[in-house]
Assembly symmetry: C2
Homo-oligomer: 340 residues x 2
DNA sequence: CTGTTAGCGCTTTCAG
DNA sequence: CTGAAAGCGCTAACAG
């Protein structure tokens, strides 16, 4: 273990440049009230010594370390990975760093991480993914608590409360339209696949139900199936389900992995896609173009959602107003699994 | 915009609990020299008021905010997303938060982000992915500079220098073996697909070359192809390449997406996989099981790499020694694209 | 334009 | 076991 070299402070710089620390601070913060000459001298010293201002001290002094907290269930999830990537890059362009927490689905962990973000005095927190919205109001209190201090941005979640700002994709319409699409392709028994109950899942489900209703198909609850785990498990779960005697000619899945799991099930059983079974996924992830036939999916405009979120946030942080709820419409991307 | 509620400080707590701030601080840091009674009283006040200690101030006082910086090219990349997910969860279990920067491939941005991490006085930085190692030594100076202050952990990169610790998968052997596998399946013209030149890519390439040599196949440089972009672009790039008259009966790709791009090319042209063309990818990502046939791939033990990295780091931060270079062997995962 | 100085909220000796 | 007080490195009035 080598000896840590001590890092320079503003005092070192001020001494070397022959000015006060205030002047150095002004230079660091691009204050206009520094003469060109002084500024240059200070900058030269800074460059030469490789000085980086201590962010803690800056944060303490100014009340902000220009940091945003992002919570997501797991960045290993493709959709969330994309979201975090867009968010982080956007935030950094605006001069903010991001602290990331992958909280998983455990409620206690979510709450703990959220509280910890407060301790770190982040300037705002972004909750990415609808997993953060609990079905009962009191369980959402942990979000509202934080919003009393700093803005909370929800990505694909909605809570109506002060200082909470929501950007979501129109999952309801997306699934209404997708179910309609399947109906028009001739499907009459449409399997609805989901993972966890979540705010977003419920909207999707409602869209699905409403479409069935409008097509005068009675809702068959046995066609609403919850799946867990990775591809292989999804597949085998469906095989079991099928062998129990359930029949279906269409699949509407809450994410692309579920949809591909269904395709793998079909291949194993010998059901033809799209002739005997049409499939629509969601998120329009890279997975959808890996399979063959390629998977029809729903593009929920992740990037746009993220851009909106960051720009709202920047506005808020500058003391301006922002819209509390923005719903973005989605695009249906037809591919091979619905071709007939 | 609502009024930000002012957050509690250690003074509020000390006043309410009728003790000095030093005592509160001791309670916060689990110091043994506080009487049980006092501790309980203080804890009660803390809980009741929802107080969270200010991390900046803590960092300033103690010299550490228990934060690790992670740089990666892009978390939207499946492999890196997995790595970041494993790293973050592991770090948090050890009481560390992580600041994430998706730097992209631009050298200047990498350097800037690395310097910024110093300013934030992170306790260490982890460079995830071999994109951070430049081919010429002076360009790696920016990494060495930081390592003078804090440990730098490389994931899939190697620089021999003090206070830099490297965990890598054995890409050389992985690709040597994979090329051998293709040879044994009868391939004689093996296309090597890569994206950027990187430390890892070079090892893979060496493995490929060495295997060819041992099989007494002369290296055909026209079979070493650099691809860019997403699946569609990879596919069309290969179509062009093929139409230019290049022939090959095997593909060895530096990541799964490239491999699947090759599969899509083959499907479009009408080349049968695996009969006429065998394909091996790398990373054993979820993509490899989405395609049909499923893609043979190389499992490079991402999780193990991350666990090792974090545990080395924790050891270092406690002042203990750690191994400077650890190479993990990989697993070849045979699937449908190499079945003959 | 520049310097002085009082915090920011916590940690950490040093006394008691 | 507990408290007082000196920093930690920077920001932001306030004076000049």
């Amino acid at each position: 273990m080598i000896e840590k070299e001590k890092q320079h402070t503003i005092y070192d710089i001020s001494k070397k440049a022959g000015v006060s620390i205030a002047t150095v601070s002004r230079v660091l913060n691009d204050s206009p009230k520094v003469s060109q000459k002084t500024r240059e001298r200070v900058l030269a010293v800074i460059k030469e010594s490789g000085y980086e201002p201590n962010a803690y001290a800056r944060g303490l002094g100014s009340g902000s370390m220009r940091t945003i907290g992002i919570l997501c269930a797991d960045v290993a999830d493709i959709y969330l990975a994309n979201a975090v990537s867009f968010l982080e890059k956007n935030l950094r362009q605006n001069g903010f760093n991001t602290i990331l927490n992958c909280t998983g689905d455990d409620y206690k962990t979510k709450v703990r991480c959220m509280k910890a973000m407060e301790g770190r005095r982040v300037d705002a927190v972004i909750l990415a993914g609808s997993q953060y919205i609990e079905s009962t109001l009191p369980k959402n209190q942990y979000i509202i608590d934080v919003s009393r201090h700093i803005p909370v941005m929800l990505l694909n979640g909605y809570i109506k409360s002060d200082n909470i700002y929501c950007n979501l994709s129109d999952d309801y319409s997306a699934f209404y339209d997708a179910a309609m699409e399947l109906y028009q392709k001739g499907c009459r028994k449409i399997l609805f696949l989901y993972r966890e109950i979540s705010y977003s899942r419920n909207l999707k489900y409602k869209g699905y139900c409403e479409a069935l209703k409008d097509c005068q198909i009675e809702l068959d609850e046995s066609l609403v199936l919850r799946c867990n785990g990775k591809m292989e498990q999804i597949k085998s779960q469906l095989i079991t389900y099928y062998k129990e005697g359930h029949e279906f000619d269409g699949v509407l899945a809450c994410d692309d992995e579920l949809a591909i799991g269904a395709m793998k099930f079909a291949r194993e059983i010998g059901i033809h896609i799209p002739e005997e079974l049409a499939v629509i996924g969601c998120n329009n992830s890279v997975l959808s173009i890996c399979s063959s036939p390629e998977l029809s999916s729903i593009d929920n405009k992740c990037e746009l959602l993220c851009i909106n979120t960051v720009s709202s946030l920047m506005r808020l942080l500058e003391g301006q107003e922002a819209v509390q709820k923005t719903v973005l419409s989605t695009d249906y991307i037809p591919r091979g699994t619905t071709k007939r």
